[in-house]
């Protein structure tokens, strides 16, 4: 990494930090209120991270930028919510997982294997097709209404630290639970990747396809596994998003936010996806609350992308990504 690059990165985050803290200094914002915004931002950041982790997993193992991750989130959530109407929660969950594994197998067989050795951009466009297909298929099979997914998450917000700040601190318990689940998922993924034989094989494939194949790791099976794991991550993301917003088509669109997250965090790093998600979520909420009114509101929709775009210009590999991107 060059010195300019390092300086620009530092400057970028310094500006972001100043931007995040400035409402406290210049505005008449209350500390408690600011802290609420920060917490809210971090929470939605956790949700972006969940989708981003799925993207990173697939990119590391197969070099495919999986645009269909959002569609997989929607599909998993729809499947679960409709199965729960007939079955108890645990049975529905297991069945949904089985369906996601089957989906991974189909994608590997029908899409990835015929396109093996193609350029990344071709595979990217193929996943665009997969995303479209899944959006249509999920809604054709399971219906396209808005379904409420109730898995017993605590709904009512809690007020903490009433003594410390004026008005207390309003914390959404559902978001806190979501953060907890996401943390558990990341921990489980870490154990899976670091401590199991399959995980080692996955890491080997991620490092070097050819070397991995030459020592007898079956690439095709690894891809099915990795897409299944991504399906599992999509299911967790779908459950959390779904119970927060209801299971509906827009889930698939929200997942587009995971793109700037992986750009910021780096395409090949799971910690990057988590931290990138937190930065994006935080930046988005703070800009919306404190900068939005000046610009007419609604800047949430593009803020993350513009942030990522600026970051791309001086650091295309992202915060923690490998410096392997061929630049022009």
């Amino acid at each position: 990494m060059s010195a300019t690059q390092r300086n620009l990165t530092t400057a970028f985050f310094a500006i972001l930090m100043v931007g995040a803290v400035s409402p406290m200094v210049v505005g008449d914002a209350k500390f408690g209120q600011w802290l609420e915004v920060v917490l809210g931002g971090l929470m939605s950041g956790v949700l972006y991270s969940l989708v981003a982790i799925g993207l990173v997993l697939i990119f590391k193992a197969s070099g495919v930028f999986n645009f269909a991750q959002g569609a997989m989130v929607l599909f998993a959530a729809l499947t679960l919510v409709r199965l729960m109407e007939k079955l108890p929660f645990i049975a529905a969950l297991v069945l949904t997982l089985a369906i996601m594994v089957a989906l991974a197998w189909f994608i590997e067989r029908l899409v990835l294997r015929p396109l093996v050795n193609q350029e990344g951009i071709v595979l990217f466009m193929a996943t665009l097709g997969v995303a479209n297909f899944l959006d249509g298929f999920g809604q054709a099979v399971w219906g396209s209404d808005i379904y409420t997914l109730d898995i017993g998450m605590p709904k009512e917000p809690k007020i903490l630290f009433e003594g410390t700040f004026e008005g207390g601190l309003l914390v959404n318990m559902e978001d806190a639970m979501a953060a907890l689940i996401a943390g558990l998922l990341v921990a489980a993924l870490w154990v899976f990747f670091q401590k199991t034989a399959t995980g080692r094989a996955l890491r080997a494939v991620a490092d070097d396809h050819q070397a991995a194949q030459s020592i007898g790791i079956p690439l095709n099976r690894i891809w099915v596994i990795v897409w299944s794991v991504a399906g599992l991550v999509a299911l967790v993301a779908g459950v959390i998003w779904g119970s927060k917003l209801g299971v509906q088509f827009s889930l698939s669109q929200i997942a587009l936010k995971a793109l700037p997250v992986v750009i910021l965090g780096g395409f090949t790093s799971i910690p990057g996806a988590v931290i990138g998600g937190l930065i994006i979520g935080l930046g988005e909420k703070i800009s919306e609350v404190y900068l939005g009114p000046m610009l007419g509101g609604g800047i949430e929709n593009w803020f993350a992308y513009v942030l990522a775009l600026i970051f791309l210009l001086f650091r295309p590999e992202g915060l923690f990504g490998e410096v392997r991107i061929d630049r022009v």
Binding site: P114, F124, A126, A131, N132, A140, G297
Partner: protein, 356 residues
């Protein structure tokens, strides 16, 4: 002899005859016949529904698809922001038409293209450092930013309270453009001119520099093609076409519209047209646009014709599935799309009725 598709006996004795647009006589006859039909016959026999629901959308989307194809198919830079550049064309045209009422409609369309070009080059600058899906995300940034801009900044919509804007009555050189046939002829004329320009650009020096950059950027640079020029000119030409298409779409197809008319789904739709029609082919842009305009209509009619009535929601889901499956199918089986199938058909026809 010309009845059978043979080029035997057509000798090229000058450079001009070798380099002309359609070197084979039968192709020329076919194209001229097709244009005569489109300009001279169709306006008299077409129904209003045919023009409004099929042909006008098809022509305008073809123009946008040509623009996108220049960028994606010829220069290899994937863009997911086509909808944004269409909306820049649409809103520039609207503002020009409202604020400068005496401006000729053609000038309005051209200037709309110019504004789209400026923004397109601006968002093309990242392409000098990044490529592939990184660039796709960068263009997605353009999409969401422009969506927001036209929805929230009231100046662009002339302070309309609902965000909806309407095109002024259309007139060109004193003739009012009102009936579907008049609209069709205007669009057809514009699209023909632009298709010709695109065809010639892509087979000229600039088009070759785009294709060289697409095939291998480092090698292109080594043989003396400046990547900056090649990429930014592709972005400029592409956005110009797309901007004009956006202005046409807004003024002629929609009449009155809101920013949602040009959202990210429009971008995807155009990308699908280009993939299905054929990457790097002007004809493919037309074929892809025709396919994507006609398929939903066919899907709407087919179940009823077969006696299985489906709900509209179900039809739209099936549409999603069909498009998704087709994208994957074409990428695997025929990456050059419908245009390649057409070319294969022509090759077969040259030999017909003999097998070799």
């Amino acid at each position: 002899m010309t009845v059978i598709y043979r080029e035997t006996g057509q000798f090229k004795t000058t450079y001009a005859s070798d380099q002309q647009l359609f070197p084979i006589l039968q192709d020329r006859v076919f194209v001229i016949g097709f244009l005569v039909f489109a300009f001279g016959v169709l306006p008299f026999i077409g129904t209003e529904y045919l023009f409004l629901a099929i042909i006008i959308p098809f022509l305008i989307l073809s123009l946008a698809a040509i623009g996108l194809n220049i960028l994606v198919g010829y220069c290899g830079q994937v863009s997911l922001g086509t909808g944004a550049f269409m909306s820049i064309g649409a809103y520039s045209a609207y503002n020009l038409a409202v604020r400068v009422p005496d401006l000729n409609l053609l000038v309005v369309f051209i200037l709309a293209g110019v504004f789209a070009t400026i923004v397109g080059v601006l968002f093309g600058i990242p392409s000098l450092r990044i490529k592939g899906f990184y660039l796709a995300v960068a263009t997605l940034a353009a999409q969401f930013f422009v969506d927001w801009l036209f929805a929230r900044v009231k100046w662009f919509t002339n302070d309309s309270s609902s965000g909806n804007v309407s095109a002024p009555p259309l007139a060109i050189f004193g003739y009012a453009i009102q009936t579907p046939v008049q609209q069709y002829l205007l669009v057809l004329a514009i699209v023909c001119v632009f298709a010709l320009i695109a065809r010639n650009l892509t087979r000229g020096a600039i088009g070759r520099s785009w294709m060289a950059t697409r095939d291998m950027d480092v090698a292109a640079e080594v043989i003396g093609i400046r990547p900056l020029h090649a990429k930014l000119s592709a972005f400029a030409v592409s956005s110009f076409f797309i901007g004009v298409a956006g202005a046409l779409w807004a003024f002629i197809r929609l009449g009155s519209w809101e920013p949602l008319a040009f959202d990210v789904n429009r971008s995807f739709q155009l990308l699908f047209m280009v993939i299905i029609g054929g990457l790097g082919s002007i004809l493919g842009s037309f074929l892809g646009a025709a396919f994507i305009v006609i398929l939903p209509l066919a899907l709407n009619q087919l179940p009823t014709a077969l006696g299985i009535p489906l709900s509209t929601a179900m039809i739209s889901h099936i549409e999603f599935m069909v498009f998704g499956a087709l994208i994957v199918f074409f990428l695997i089986v025929e990456p050059h799309g419908l245009a390649r199938l057409w070319a294969i058909g022509k090759e077969k026809l040259r030999l017909w009725p003999f097998p070799h």
